[in-house]
Amino acid sequence: MTSTILRSSTRYLFPVIALFSIFLLLRGHDEPGGGFVGGLLAALCFALYALADSVEAARRLLRVEEQQLIGMGLLLAACSGLPGLLAGEPFLTTYWTEQWVIPTVGKLKLGTPLLFDVGVYLTVVGVVLMILFPLAEE
């Protein structure tokens, strides 16, 4: 399918949706959002790209295979529980950094749940694209 309108609007929509998905991911822990919704949106970006251009181009843009994305996501999620184990606490015990205030950006607090969320994010992107790409190719 080649539609000029879709193609040119995708060019502008893609970075916006991608940024918004990362915004949702980072906002997720204490407020609505998180890895799952963020991941869905990110997958949506690539789906849009595949519609506007081609699945092949979308795959090229993704650089890694979907299955590898799932693997990375699961690894990250599993690793987010490891600091607890290494410190002699139960698995998945959470650790947070101090809250940093970065001028103009805002407040920033990093911790193991964020790592978990990033893992979820990657896994969701991988799973959704693994379903969508073959469907779109048919």
Partner: protein, 522 residues
């Protein structure tokens, strides 16, 4: 302790996700897969030794206290089950390095196998009913894919029955968990054991017990809910059906053992009486079903069902406590529960082995139908003996593992004066022997019906060579498991001692509760 309880779940997950990154490298995948399983095996052995030495272990994930957070608990039963899972996982993974075709491997056979193991170990170790549900789903999802991997017609047909029945069972399980939560306000099993009797609603509790019996009964393939099993197990490649046969129904049996010794013990006369009756029916229908089959793996599938009956028998014997709660009956009931644990251990090893043997037979002769197989004893006497060990053990011939398992069950039954079920158990044992001799006679002893004169066999030698390539990797695990069967048989004393200890723990839920609860009060 934190490591020990988490690793059986964490390790398969790490290995599975790591293997997804190695998608295009089958050799590396196999290597990681085997190493991962060996790691799991080592962890499981350490876990069992630690639990045997120190008693029940419990941790709270993330450091959140018990009724709200998630507990992982390892009592002897759980530790034994994890060890068995790891043992058979190792055998199957080595076996699959040569027996699974490249296509299935490319679609992620090895990662799926590890995800399955993660679900199984999680189900054994969790102390929380909702998490049990989650881990059931994890193992079911991967089993769905493993069963249909390859997409052959028979596979899909079998998978439809398997998936449907299991979804119904999951829905029932979830509904039961919901109602249970509504009644007691908790799903932590140790907490439930205290709060369910305190809720003072015996009728609701009975209804819940039936829902869970139904849900786990479908998964354990007990009478009359077993029909999905023989319809689906034989369709997948041998390595996959071996892991299903040995492990998945046993997760159901484990769940039954867990909830019917810990949570639903308020009306033993009713619930456990029913279980004992179902055990009898399960044994008989399974073995009769096997008697009319004429395909290698179908016979084996039906035997799983009849063996499940034996395992339930030990649990059902608890019914006697309803009317005579004396020291002597408690001892006999403990023996029955211990025998159940011993039986599960024996069964997992033996059944996996028989399915692996069937895989080798099918690979060499291209079919699993008894009437077109034959001649193995003449061509491969050692391999034939490797079949004979688990087969005779399954039928309960001394001094193999199955004999001691059955002996203990029968003894417990006699001491509790449950003569009916004992008679059934003995009769079913004889019929099992009949089935095994049928396989032996047809596959190993009978002359090969496809036997050709020596002159015609020459052109086929190249094909034969490719079939034999890597056969050692398939026979190795079979020999290993046969060795373990012999070992369980010859060293039955100490192993039975461990099983009896776990029987004691099962009959005294307070041990389990105390292990989880001190953490609550901290």
């Amino acid at each position: 302790m934190n490591w020990l309880l988490t690793l059986p779940i964490l390790l398969p997950m790490l290995v599975a996700s790591g293997m997804m990154l190695l998608r295009r490298r089958p050799m590396a995948q196999r290597l990681v897969s085997v190493l991962g399983m060996l790691g799991l095996l080592a962890t499981a052995i350490t876990l069992l030794v630690t639990v045997y030495r120190d008693g029940v272990l419990a941790i709270q994930l993330g450091g959140y206290a018990a009724p709200y957070g998630i507990s992982l608990v390892a009592d002897l039963l759980a530790a034994i089950m994890v060890l068995l899972a790891a043992m058979k996982g190792t055998a199957v993974v080595i076996y699959s390095t040569v027996s699974i075709d490249a296509e299935r491997e490319a679609y992620g056979y090895h990662p799926l196998l590890h995800v399955l193991l993660m679900g199984v170990c999680g189900a054994f170790l969790t102390g929380d009913l909702f998490n049990l549900y989650v881990f059931f789903e994890v193992l079911l999802m991967s089993s769905f894919v493993l069963l249909t991997l390859g997409g052959e017609r028979g596979q899909v047909e079998g998978a439809i029955k398997y998936v449907t029945l299991n979804l119904i069972s999951s829905a029932l399980f979830l509904a039961g968990a919901g109602i249970l939560y509504g009644v007691t306000g908790t799903l932590n099993m140790a907490d439930l054991a205290i709060k369910l009797p305190a809720a003072g609603q015996p009728q609701v509790a009975n209804m819940l017990a039936m829902i869970f019996l139904l849900a786990f009964g479908i998964k354990a393939a007990i009478f009359p809910l077993f029909f999905w099993l023989p319809a689906s197990y034989h369709t997948a490649p041998a390595a996959i059906s071996a892991i299903f046969a040995g492990l998945l129904t046993k997760v159901g049996v484990y769940a039954l053992l867990r909830v019917f010794t810990l949570v639903f013990v308020h009306d033993i006369g009713f619930t456990h009486g029913l279980i004992l009756m179902l055990a009898g029916f399960t044994m008989v229908t399974g073995v009769l079903g096997a008697a009319v089959q004429s395909e290698f793996r179908r016979i084996l599938s039906f035997h799983i069902i009849s063996q499940i009956g034996y395992m339930l028998m030990g649990l059902g014997l608890m019914v006697v406590l309803a009317w005579s709660d004396t020291e002597a009956t408690r001892a006999a009931v403990t023996m029955g529960l211990g025998a159940t644990v011993f039986y599960i251990a024996h069964h997992i090893v033996v059944k996996t082995n028989l399915f692996l043997v069937s895989g080798v037979v099918e690979r060499l002769q291209g079919t699993g139908r008894l009437d077109s197989l034959g001649g193995f004893y003449a061509s491969r006497p050692v391999f034939s003996l490797l079949f004979l060990v688990p087969a005779l053990s399954l039928a309960g011939i001394p001094p193999l593992s199955g004999f001691w398992a059955k002996l203990a069950l029968v003894q417990a039954g006699l001491r509790l004066e449950q003569y009916g079920i004992v008679a059934i158990a003995l009769a079913v044992g004889v019929l099992t022997l009949f089935s095994m001799t049928k396989i032996w006679a047809a596959v190993f002893w009978a002359p090969d019906p496809a036997e050709r004169p020596a002159s015609e066999e020459r052109p086929a030698s190249e094909e034969r060579l490719s079939k034999e390539k890597g056969l050692a990797m398939m026979i190795g695990p079979i020999a290993g498991l046969a060795g373990i069967t012999l070992l369980i048989g010859l060293a039955a004393g100490p192993i039975f001692e461990v099983a009896m200890q776990s029987g004691v723990q099962l009959l005294n839920p307070q041990i389990y509760i105390d292990a989880v609860h001190p953490v609550v009060s901290e």
